[in-house]
């Protein structure tokens, strides 16, 4: 019988001799009792830096007896359950000298469950080897069902399961007229069967393909009992609820005269900045006030539209667009462009044509970066997106 954590109570006790740390047993001369609900009692005796463990009915003479359910005991032993918390919440009961219990903590190295992980190939063979035995006749009904499994990659293979008259027969190869065909790579199949990835993710990322009877595909989970790796019991998934929502907020952005001038300029294919009368710095987009001198800035200046690239910032992971909730394709790149007529830090930020990202050189000091030009939208509405992106000027 395996516990919640895939480790038996007996394994914990049986491995005590090999996990024993004589240096931790300095000066310990006592017997400790363990009473594991439904599994039995064990008596640990430590003396002269040596130990013995025995399964017994008689815990007399123990300085302290620890009582716990199997899951709790195993959980604490392998470090998956917090011992102090288990004790304070009453999941572990201690009878006798609690102080003496502290001595036992130093006696053993922590139990590490043996590595049972199979290779992808071993999993595939085991998964298909157990397919017939996992078949659930009551879910199949009377109709004949033919399911083809096209499992790609070097660890994969091709199988066909034929379900009729309440039996399921698996054969190698693909049937020419299946009810349903599932195609994916071996690794993905293993992850799917072990619950490490869900079918929807595989399908939506095109890592898995389904062809044929979709209603049947939805019922696959009923047709076959859940797969469990050798030596492990099926752990039923706990249903956890997730509520997916989109909050939408109406908003209005008032441009004001300065941003309005800039946005209206874009309609005419013009890019306006404004120059501070005091520090002579150019701001693009233009602002009402110079951010450094804090004085009103009046004079507009048209710059660009071409420029050279100072910095390219490539995104490989895109967050959802807050305006649409959609996630754009990656990689995409944003560039800081020194438009003609600007100098120093007076850069303008915009996107670079996706297929040219690799060809962009960045400039620094006197060195110019790749020269780029804007690609304007056909219909311009006074938005930053009136420039669709910048492309190499060639």
């Amino acid at each position: 019988m395996s516990e919640k954590f895939g480790v038996k109570v007996e394994e914990i006790f049986d491995t005590m001799p090999e996990r024993f740390r004589p240096e931790g047993a300095e000066g310990v001369d006592a017997s400790f009792g363990y009473d594991i609900t439904g599994r039995g009692k064990w008596k640990l005796t430590v003396k002269d830096k040596a130990m013995s463990i025995e399964k017994t009915e008689d815990l007399a003479g123990c300085v302290v007896v620890t009582r716990a359910a199997p899951d709790t005991f195993v959980g604490v032993s392998i470090g998956k359950v917090d011992g102090t918390e288990a004790f304070t919440s009453g999941k572990i009961a201690v009878e006798g000298d609690i102080g003496a219990l502290g001595l036992t903590f130093k006696l053993f190295k922590r139990f590490t469950p043996p590595q049972k992980e199979l290779t992808v190939r071993e999993y595939i063979l085991d998964m298909f080897g157990t397919l017939e035995s996992r078949f659930q006749p009551q879910a199949a009904g009377d109709s004949r069902i033919v399911i083809c499994y096209d499992i790609g990659g070097k660890d994969g293979g091709q199988w066909t399961a034929v379900i009729e008259n309440g039996t399921c027969k698996l054969a190698e190869g693909l049937d020419p007229s299946p009810s349903l065909t599932l195609a994916m790579k071996a690794k993905d199949w293993v992850d799917l069967m072990l619950g490490r990835v869900d079918a929807l993710t595989l399908l939506s990322t095109a890592r898995a393909k389904l062809e044929g009877d979709m209603a049947l595909a939805m019922r696959l989970g009923e047709l076959f009992a859940k797969y469990a790796p050798p030596g492990q019991e099926v752990v039923e998934d706990e249903e956890l609820l997730v509520l997916k929502k989109v909050i939408s907020v109406q908003q209005r952005f008032a441009t004001g005269p300065v941003m309005g001038k800039y946005l209206n300029g874009l309609k005419e294919k013009k890019i306006f900045g404004n120059r501070c009368p005091e520090c002579k710095r150019l701001q693009i987009p233009p602002r009402e006030v110079c951010a450094v001198c804090r004085i009103r800035v009046e004079a507009f200046e048209e710059v660009g539209p071409k420029g050279n690239i100072r910095l390219l910032d490539t995104a490989y992971y895109a967050s959802p667009d807050p305006l649409t909730g959609e996630t754009r394709e990656t990689p995409y790149a944003m560039a800081y462009i020194l438009l003609d007529g600007c100098k120093g830090q007076e850069v303008f930020a915009h996107f670079i044509r996706d297929d040219q990202i690799d060809r962009i050189d960045m400039g620094w000091n006197e060195k110019k970066g790749t020269i780029v030009r804007p690609v304007w939208a056909e219909e311009r509405k006074g938005k930053v997106t009136d420039i669709r992106y910048y492309e190499i000027d060639e």
Binding site: E85, T88, S89, G90, E238, E239, L240, L241, V242, L243, K244, K245, V246, I247, S248, V249, Q250, Q251, R252, F253, A254, T255, G256, P257, V258, G260, K261, L263, N264, P320, P322, L323, T324, G325, G382, K383
Partner: protein
Amino acid sequence: MKEQFDTSNCFTIQGKLALPYSYFAGRVGSRFLIRIRDEKKIMGIRCNRCAKVYVPPRQTCDVCMEDIRDNWVDVASEGEVTNFTVVRYRDKHLPKDPPYVLAVIRLDGADTCLAHVVQGVDPAEVRAGLRVRAVFAPETTNTLLDIDHFEPV
């Protein structure tokens, strides 16, 4: 004195901000909602130290700071309005058409209160102390609205 400036370039841009999010009910919240959905029973969690029963359930007792997540108890689907307000405006995120009564209800067997809608009574007639019972929704939404509303007993 109002400063005059050239407004010829001023305009407004209409926009909409969409914020997709996922609310995870968690283990405790899921079990609570699933029992309502599948068995039409309301459960709470009891703190074994102070005996307080939490509805909606939570995994830690806020008085004792005990981990109480496994101590499930059934409570009644009937209880008492301890306080209420009348919602008189309409909004997308609100569960009912206005006006409706949003009440704080202490179910029999619980020590904490659950906020929910009371229908089947004129809002002007609702008083603290009103006995109400849960009416379960025919269609599930996997939310607390699987209890559609409460109605007077």
